[in-house]
Subunit: 343 residues, 2 copies
């Protein structure tokens, strides 16, 4: 409304270091020293500068600093589908860790399915002169595109097992999938399906590998996994399809959403979970405990992932240390899995 902050200052320009210096009666360099907490400043001078900064509501100009130091203090996050719980939780954790190290974060999400969309997203981040890159929930194509660009910055990929040459950090997806599968086998199931994620996703691939590994380790016959798209919607339709041949007693879904859709379909088909079919998911999203029935699933500690991710990135210069990070997932058994009744 009233656009009259103060009658005098017609200067809309924000106060600069020089303004502070003038007010404090020192040179701008002294102000700079105070800001960056350099030694050899008389306490009294320092205080005077701090007072002036306070009085003028001074804020360092990030752009000027970035220009002269050629450091942006920004890290980029490349992600697909940030509305899903997993990626969102990871982003949150990374942002917190980055802020703690006085870095800031920008995200670019890959919109659409064309591979130009990947390049565009990376370009957006590069335009920001990011100093490090975190790739969340990468698809194979993203990974390939990235490798082809040969960027000169530290890259950490999350939730990937394909640690070729980049730094990589992940919850051990294969182990998680094995835990889920073993759980079903130990309950007595002999015919188990796997509803996997999209083919392109490294994460999905790892879970599928874990499933197949465990099945063959226990000498179980395996059927070809069904490739889904992470959504509950797909889980529902896949479930309806599967019900036409009732040759299974359990399904391991690659994430909780698809598991939810499956359970819906199974009930719609007149069967019960876990009475007729056991279901296990993956992720342990906060809602999973309140699905009906509460979902047995594999928990990933996303927050821990984000923290370690930043640690890895910030330590990227003194590399070599603590390189291979892997966080162990845990199985959370709830009501959606039980021994098969048809035995």
């Amino acid at each position: 409304m009233a656009q009259e902050p103060d009658p005098v200052a017609k200067k809309s320009r924000a106060p600069s270091m020089h303004d502070v210096a003038r007010l404090a009666g020192v040179s701008h360099q002294t102000v700079s020293r105070v800001i960056n907490d350099l030694p050899n400043i008389r306490e009294e001078t320092k205080q005077r500068v701090l007072d002036s900064m306070e009085q003028l509501q001074y804020r360092p100009n990030r752009a000027a600093r970035a220009l002269v130091t050629s450091r942006s203090r920004t890290i980029g996050i490349l992600t697909a589908s940030r509305t899903n719980y997993g990626p969102a939780a990871s982003i949150q954790a990374i942002e917190d860790a980055a802020n703690a190290a006085s870095y800031s974060v920008t995200t670019a999400s890959i919109s659409g399915y064309e591979s130009t969309a990947i390049v565009r997203a990376i370009d957006r981040l590069l335009d920001q002169a990011i100093e490090g890159l975190v790739v969340i929930a990468p698809q194979r194509r993203v990974f390939d595109t990235l490798a082809g660009m040969s960027l000169r910055l530290p890259i950490v990929t999350l939730q990937s097992t394909a640690a070729d040459d980049d730094m990589s950090l992940s919850v051990d997806q294969i182990l998680g999938a094995r835990l889920a599968t073993r759980h079903l086998i130990e309950l007595g199931h002999r015919s188990i399906y796997h509803l996997a994620g999209p083919q392109d996703w490294i994460e999905a691939e790892a879970r599928m590998t874990g499933f197949l590994d465990e099945m063959s380790a226990q000498d179980m016959p395996t059927t070809a996994p069904i490739l889904g798209d992470w959504t509950a919607e797909f889980g529902y339709f896949a479930g309806r399809e599967l019900l036409r041949m009732r040759d299974f007693t359990a399904i391991f879904a690659a994430n909780d959403q698809m598991a939810l859709g499956l359970m819906h379909a199974i009930r719609d088909g007149g069967l019960e979970v876990p009475g007729d079919v056991s279901i296990v998911g993956f992720d342990d999203i906060p809602d999973a405990a309140h699905f009906w029935p509460p979902l047995t699933t594999v928990r990933q500690d996303f927050a821990e992932l984000g923290r370690r991710c930043m640690a890895l990135l910030l330590g990227g210069l003194e590399s070599g240390e603590e390189y291979s990070g892997s966080i162990l997932p845990t199985l959370i058994a709830r009501g959606s899995s039980a021994a098969p009744s048809t035995r």
Copy 2:
């Protein structure tokens, strides 16, 4: 200067405008003109410059540009709980719209409950010299803090009805709540509870207001709403508590997660949804259609919200136009609501 154009450029510095200019045989200013697409450049010159840029893999230095123009082309998003679907979807939409207008986005999430956390988050954004601010899912305290700081930049608040003097844009939460409530009343319910969001949230308040408005408009007796925290976990405990006095046939929950928890509790208590109790949620998160039973809820178009938000922000200078934005929510009736059987 004896600057040999040495073939083994040890200079790790990124190429600048001058490098491009030298290669193209023009002045840096001409390069600048090409980049910014200014008129009055000979086509041939332009092409030569573009070729040089390509050859050197030149990228404009964002910091330098920001410094001289004093425009950061960055907008900030202030949010709490970005792992929830609603905020996440809004952020996504805003980011897309911002990118389309060649702005970039930084987020700051309010971590913790102390009010200093709010100030810290805002400070982080201000340090980035944001040109505009979007506040998502604001709590009353955030709103107050913001007002107290009297920032000199356009602010858009999302999902708020408290449009005092700031620009504000929202899905009409009151209307949404009225739709949900009316739906239950029309089904024949007479005793309806409301499980509200946290007291501090403007959004929660609006939904509560809508509920109370509709109830009194239809001459229904109202009970005091229960204040929750948006989580399924809380919904579950509230549900168990409510079951001890069975004086209701329907509950309107302020979001889908709490509705999920409620349904869980009700089933745990030996009752059925919607047979014994009807449930209505709010948001229409993607999973809601696959809850058991599928959840009747109120849909908000988050993507549209994000788009309009950016339009409002970018048009902030030529203000006055199309000021009051309100997007209409719609009721999605599914299986969790039905006529009361106890009549």
